[in-house]
Subunit: 149 residues, 2 copies
């Protein structure tokens, strides 16, 4: 077996530490959002809508890295709780642009604060420059994998 074809020790494998960090982040966010009765996908949906109102179900699904079907049930739950609103009929094509309600904006504000606290805890000890480099590198990694070429 040639040396170059192996993954190598776990502690030095980019994929492994990436998964480790993502798993830890997921767990911490889950714990932080539990008091608000929000799951991570639900929060992602609210955050997306807060920054870019009028997104369709498919857009939200892509932004939250889930399938359209999963996002659909998330939206139905949020709509039942009065946090988001969707028009009964589509103004263009089949897209149903979703908007935050006042209650949704209020809930998002609390949730955003909780998630921000988690992110601060995660980045403790990291300089602003280190964070910027991290974001740039991760973005590059994601782009490399999603390129269709």
């Amino acid at each position: 077996m040639r040396q170059g074809d192996q993954v190598g020790p776990l502690d030095t494998a980019v994929g492994y530490v990436l998964k480790q960090a993502a798993s830890a982040l997921r767990g911490a966010m889950d714990a932080a959002l539990r008091p608000l009765d929000l799951t991570v996908p639900q929060y992602s949906c609210l955050e997306l809508l807060g920054q870019r109102p009028g997104l369709s179900n498919a857009d939200l699904a892509r932004g939250a890295f889930v399938t359209r079907q999963s996002m659909n049930v998330v939206l139905q739950g949020l709509e039942a709780r009065g946090l988001v609103s969707r028009p009964a009929s589509a103004p263009h094509g089949r897209q149903l642009p979703t908007e935050l309600t006042d209650a949704g904006r209020s809930q998002l504000q609390e949730a955003s604060r909780a998630v921000h606290a988690v992110q601060v805890r995660m980045c403790a000890g990291l300089s602003a420059e280190q964070q910027r480099v991290l974001v740039a590198t991760l973005t590059e990694c994601a782009r490399n994998l999603t390129e269709t070429t």
Copy 2:
């Protein structure tokens, strides 16, 4: 609302790009392992056992970031396919040390090659130093979140 309590634009949020990269990696690994009839947790289990033989179910679950129950069904599936072997009774306590079979080692070799290719593609354009920094930073982030203090 104070500015410091918000998450900020998605493209610059560490948590968001981390999730994005992890999602892309998961998808790419899934596609790479599908020809071998292996899921990502199954591969993780094999890789763990290849590097540290004799790990128990609970150890494997922690290493693969899943619950003991999930890892248990993974192990049962791998055992049914003859890729791993577990003793009928526990030599110490209740831990059942798992070992790779010859078939398992062979399968792992192919899978490791496929995953390594994905990792290379992901890190295209990144220098060795950049990768080292990335691993160190992500490890630090994970440690910050899992600390109980």
